[in-house]
């Protein structure tokens, strides 16, 4: 391992988004045309594709950008440790050798409930892989604010370096932007040095326009990332809602110069999904936003499909899932 280039996946080289004062004008200026969004989303992946070595490289990049996640009611320390082992060696070494890849490949983070933060931190020790904790009454976000903030602090104290918070959907649905801003601001304060990803739960916001407005407010409130969903809603990440959020990030960057990352979660299951979202990032934001400090994919099963595709890339034959190590 010592010979491999140590590119710590979590390296955050950019200054954090400090947020801005609440700018309601920027929120109200938001215009989203659903049909046009659908058309662009539908043609993103028909205008661009990656093949052969490029496809393999892009899939490895997707692994680097993955928040390998387990958020099940029946998680145990045992399953979390297993997941961490997979995060540290997500692709079979023989595949990487066959593909001629010398770089160290790990996932971007491991994402767990608060209860398993300590387990994960311990399991990942020395790997440089950060632990992300879902927090603030995940997935519904309806516990008392004090409880939610305390939860953030507890997760940070337990060693989580990234906190995925959920927003109160009701504040979006009632267009109560001041309250949303204040809550997210408070959560950002509670995160301290830990990076904060704001989960919008896009499937529960009613319209794409609300998705963009909520994105704007969460960025103004200092989110390091905005994230589509908890994975528990009926509708999670789609290319349409992702396009809307990514464009919000672009506009925010144009207006403030602050970098905000993007994390689609829930529903990305195939290697094709992974490259589609990378194409989205490249086309709408640029190559800089294809790096793990600005792009994460919240997923679990996705990794196996990617590994399977890489096996095909390495050996030219179609692979069986039973040959890929479980997490």
């Amino acid at each position: 391992m010592a010979t491999k280039t140590a590119t710590a996946p979590h390296a955050h080289t950019l200054p954090r988004n400090p947020g801005t004062p609440l700018d309601l004008g920027a929120v109200e200026d938001v215009r989203v045309n659903r049909s046009a969004i659908e058309r662009r989303a539908a043609t993103l992946a028909t205008r661009r594709t990656v093949k052969k070595n490029h496809q393999a490289a892009w899939l490895l990049q997707a692994v680097r950008c993955m928040d390998l996640t387990t958020l099940s009611g029946d998680d145990t320390p045992g399953t979390v440790r297993r997941l961490c082992a997979k995060a540290m060696q997500p692709i079979r070494p023989d595949l990487l050798d066959a593909l001629g890849v010398k770089e160290r490949i790990t996932t971007g983070a491991v994402c767990v409930y608060h209860a398993f933060v300590e387990t994960a931190v311990e399991a990942l020790e020395g790997s440089g892989i950060p632990v992300a904790a879902v927090s603030t009454g995940f997935p519904h976000g309806l516990s008392p604010l004090e409880t939610r903030l305390a939860e953030v602090e507890a997760s940070v104290a337990a060693g989580a370096r990234e906190i995925d918070i959920v927003i109160s959907r009701q504040l979006v649905l009632t267009q109560n932007w001041e309250a949303l801003y204040d809550e997210v601001r408070a959560m950002r304060e509670a995160c301290g040095e830990a990076h904060m990803k704001a989960i919008l739960a896009v499937g529960e916001l009613g319209t794409l326009r609300n998705v963009m407005k909520a994105s704007v407010v969460c960025m103004q409130a200092g989110s390091d990332f905005i994230k589509t969903s908890t994975g528990k809603e009926t509708v999670n990440a789609t290319l349409q809602n992702s396009l809307v959020m990514v464009r919000a990030i672009r506009t925010y960057f144009e207006q403030t110069g602050h970098y905000v990352g993007f994390k689609p979660a829930g529903g990305l299951r195939t290697a094709r999904n992974a490259t589609d979202w990378l194409i989205l990032m490249k086309e709408e934001l640029g190559v800089r936003w294809m790096q793990p400090d600005l792009f994460r994919i919240g997923a679990s099963a996705l990794l196996y499909d990617i590994e399977r595709q890489l096996e095909h890339a390495a050996y030219g034959r179609y692979a069986s899932l039973s040959y890929q190590a479980l997490g």
């Binding site: 045309n33 892009w58 890849v101």
Partner: protein, 813 residues
């Protein structure tokens, strides 16, 4: 390129679609193609090369069709027509269905072949052109099936000559072939000489599905071959898509012939972005508007009109978006812009852009555009040359590529704003208000399409209604479907393709009762003469012209005497001249705006009032008709009663000819709205001197047109009496103008007048020829008939009085 190095750059690399099958298909024909005539392949005598625009290499040899080939094709089509036109709709539907299926089965072969031959990206042929082709055949299989129910009283036109362009080779073929076959016509088709290959493959498929011989004939060749089709006497209709320049020639060549003509011509379509638009989506819309198919799209949104407050922001976003486009090998699956069809076209684009810059425009192109020059080998196997940025990496040596271009600092007076460039070049201007946006949008000789971007439905629909164009896309652009009609206003041509409105181009009314036409009873117009006038017993009445709601003496100060068949001088009419026509058109133009936007109900009220006042003076009109024409009392009574009925009918239709919402396969309200032509010159037939005014001119008025009417010569004093009824019936001044005088002199002035939107003419064959060829400057719509024509069918008159605008309104919360 190693995976590790790609991990650093995360670039796209190459993703070529294989062209093996397409090349094998060409090779199977020994690289040389004949023509498909009367169900047989015929080897050609002389050939020209088809080139691949992306590499410059010759692809195949195409036959230069001769006049003899065209003659054989037309004769074959005529023979086949006998059977095909009487083949039951259901059987024709089966053939169209089989064509749709066959196209789907060979979809990739068609797509690759089209990309090779035309240079457009495989993404477009694969995802847009070919699926739309199949959709067109499916949709029209349906029309064939239900023709008898959907179009009762209509039958096919006959042998149709179809000439199509090179920008959407197979799609334009489908747009023409599918409705023609569905309606029972037979076809002689000529593809553009740059792009014959997919048409040849289509002919092969016609053969494979067993389409009866002679129903579809394919001749290949250049403009000379096309000219032979247009000139051929055995052709009943010409359908053409191409440049306005050629469209004009076709109108002139076919003038005075019985050939039906539909033309889909050029455009300089506005793309209007309001400050309440989803700007990022609008910018993406520009990509689909002008950087689609290398901008070689007749309806390309090439004139960007951007509200001033967001202009700078929009230009900045466009600049950034252009940077991300990729140009090059059209077979690469990750290319946005392929090759321009031919060096001739590329040179024209370059020259026009240079002219724009010379006139002061600012040129905006992606930074990588400078890397496009010169031949670069595709080094590195899997990867593109590292020396090029991604935008230009796939440009091939000897290919015909032109970078995406935006010109700013231009005004309506700039050449590049007025002229259709037909390349990936947009021009951008700002506007302040919706009113100004409409004014700038309409400040063009064309009227094919428009795109309007705003999240405010009130604003968007208001502007869509006011832009003069056959298609208006709200918050979308370049969206097409077989269920929706497509075609132009103004110099963008006439006729529609797609939808029910498009079928009428391929049908004609079936004449059911062919009773022998009786001679028209008519007065004669003489400079002097006639007897029986006696100032002692009658007070002199001076019939004048009727212009702008006022009686007007003829500018020239001359009159013509109206002499009855028995030689009696009944009175005089003013001898109108060019200036009188000019004045009448001006008055009509001034009145049309308000009249055209008045509600159908309001227009109906005026027409009912007109009927009421005419009926009140019925006996007087009867007498006057008898005095002038020698009609019997019964005939005169029938004429007047018929006229009152006509006015009721016109009033009835005023608020009932109201369009449809097309069933397109996307979440969109697509409204086909019949709109008034505008100002219509009407030279009436002689047979029904009063009913011409009521059944023809008043029907045009009912649909919102303002008219300049030259009454029939059989009883012109009836027309001048009629203006007194107009005067008392609240018809707004300028809506209904009457100019009496010498028919063909007045008709010529009307036909040539650039501010007249349509001309209807009844007269002798030479007169019809003169009107049709006189119309070519502004490409106004023409409708001609013999001087003694019976009154036309109401539905025909309604169609002639209107043009269909399709407004696409995609929706979604």
């Amino acid at each position: 390129m190693t995976i590790s190095s790609i991990l650093q750059t995360l670039d796209y690399g190459v993703a070529p679609e294989s062209d093996t099958a397409a090349r094998e298909w060409i090779a199977a024909h020994d690289g040389t193609f004949g023509q498909y005539i009367d169900g047989k392949w015929r080897a050609g005598a002389s050939h020209f090369d088809a080139f691949s625009p992306s590499t410059g290499e010759p692809l195949a040899k195409i036959t230069q069709g001769t006049e003899a080939d065209v003659d054989d094709a037309v004769k074959a089509a005529r023979r086949a027509y006998k059977t095909w036109s009487t083949t039951p709709g259901h059987i024709r539907a089966r053939y169209l269905y089989a064509l749709a299926r066959a196209i789907q089965k060979h979809s990739r072969l068609f797509a690759v072949l089209e990309t090779l031959d035309n240079g457009k990206p495989i993404r477009e042929t694969r995802d847009l052109d070919i699926p739309l082709v199949a959709r067109h055949f499916y949709h029209h299989a349906g029309w064939a099936e239900i023709m008898a129910e959907a179009l009762p009283g209509y039958g096919p036109v006959g042998v149709v000559g179809q000439i199509i362009p090179w920008n959407f080779p197979l799609l334009m073929l489908a747009w023409k072939v599918a409705p023609a076959l569905a309606m029972g016509n037979t076809i002689v088709m000529k593809p553009a000489e740059f792009t014959s290959l997919t048409a040849l493959l289509f002919a092969q498929i016609c053969d494979e599905i067993g389409l009866p011989k002679g129903v579809f004939n394919l001749v290949t060749g250049d403009g000379a071959t096309g000219a032979a089709i247009v000139a051929h006497e055995g052709v009943d209709k010409i359908a053409f898509t191409g440049s306005t320049e050629v469209g004009r020639i076709l109108r002139r060549v076919t003038a005075g012939t019985p050939k039906k003509l539909s033309l889909e011509l050029g455009g300089k379509s506005p793309f209007v972005i309001f400050d309440d638009a989803d700007l990022d989506s609008a910018v993406e819309g520009v990509v689909d508007a002008i950087w689609f198919n290398q901008g070689q799209v007749c309806c390309a949104g090439s004139r960007l009109l951007i509200q001033e407050g967001i202009y700078d922001q929009a230009i900045a976003k466009l600049r950034a978006r252009m940077e991300k486009l990729r140009i090059g090998d059209p077979l690469d699956k990750a290319v946005d812009i392929g090759a321009v069809v031919d060096p001739v076209q590329k040179d024209r684009i370059s020259e026009l852009v240079q002219q724009g810059v010379d006139e002061g425009a600012t040129l905006i192109q992606p930074s990588w555009a400078v890397e496009m020059g010169g031949a670069v080998s595709n080094a590195g196997g899997d990867g593109a040359p590292a020396s090029r940025s991604e935008g230009a990496a796939l440009v091939k040596a000897n290919g015909c590529f032109y970078p995406p271009t935006l010109l700013t600092n231009v005004g309506p007076a700039s050449t590049v704003v007025q002229v259709e460039i037909f390349g990936p070049v947009a021009v951008a201007m700002s506007f302040r208000t919706p009113e100004e946006a409409v004014k700038l949008a309409n400040n063009t000789r064309y009227g094919l399409a428009a795109s309007v971007w705003s999240e405010d439905v009130n604003l968007a629909l208001d502007v869509a209604g006011q832009i003069k164009a056959g298609t208006v896309w709200i918050n979308c652009t370049n969206v097409f479907d077989a269920a929706s009609g497509f075609g132009g206003y103004r110099e963008s041509g006439y006729g529609r393709e797609g939808g029910k409105e498009g079928l009428y181009e391929y049908v004609k009314a079936v004449e059911t009762d062919k009773k022998k036409a009786s001679a028209v009873k008519s007065a004669t117009l003489v400079e002097t003469g006639g007897e029986g006038y006696d100032a002692a017993t009658m007070i002199d009445r001076t019939a004048k012209l009727y212009v702008g709601g006022k009686q007007a003496r003829p500018d020239g100060g001359y009159s013509l005497a109206v002499v009855s068949p028995s030689g009696k001088r009944v009175g005089e009419i003013g001898l109108g001249n060019r200036k009188d026509v000019r004045n009448a058109v001006e008055a009509a133009r001034a009145a049309q705006g308000k009249w055209g936007t008045a509600s159908g109900h309001a227009r109906a009220q005026v027409l009912y009032f007109l009927a009421e006042n005419l009926a009140a003076r019925g006996e007087e009109f009867e007498q006057r008709l008898r005095d002038q024409t020698g009609m019997t009392a019964n005939e005169a009574k029938a004429e007047v009663e018929g006229a009152v009925d006509d006015l009721f009918r016109a009033a009835a239709w005023a608020d009932k000819y109201d369009g449809v919402v097309h069933a397109v396969p996307m979440r969109s309200v697509t409204m086909a709205v019949p709109e008034a032509l505008g100002v219509v010159g009407i030279v009436l037939p002689d047979r029904h001197p009063l009913r011409g005014l009521t059944a023809i001119a008043a029907m045009a008025v009912a649909q919102g047109n303002a008219v300049v009417v030259v009454p029939g010569a059989s009883a012109p004093l009836t027309a001048t009496d009629f203006y007194q009824v107009l005067d008392t019936s609240d018809v707004p001044g300028g809506v209904f103008n009457l100019v009496t005088g010498r028919r063909d002199e007045l008709a010529k002035t009307l036909a040539e007048h650039d501010d007249v939107d349509g001309i209807w003419y009844a007269g002798p064959q030479e007169g019809r020829a003169a009107v049709e060829s006189g119309s070519i400057h502004n490409m106004k719509r023409t409708w001609t008939m013999p001087a003694d024509a019976e009154l036309p069918r109401t539905d025909e008159t309604l169609r002639q009085a209107t043009q269909v605008k399709n407004i696409w309104v995609p929706y979604g919360a």
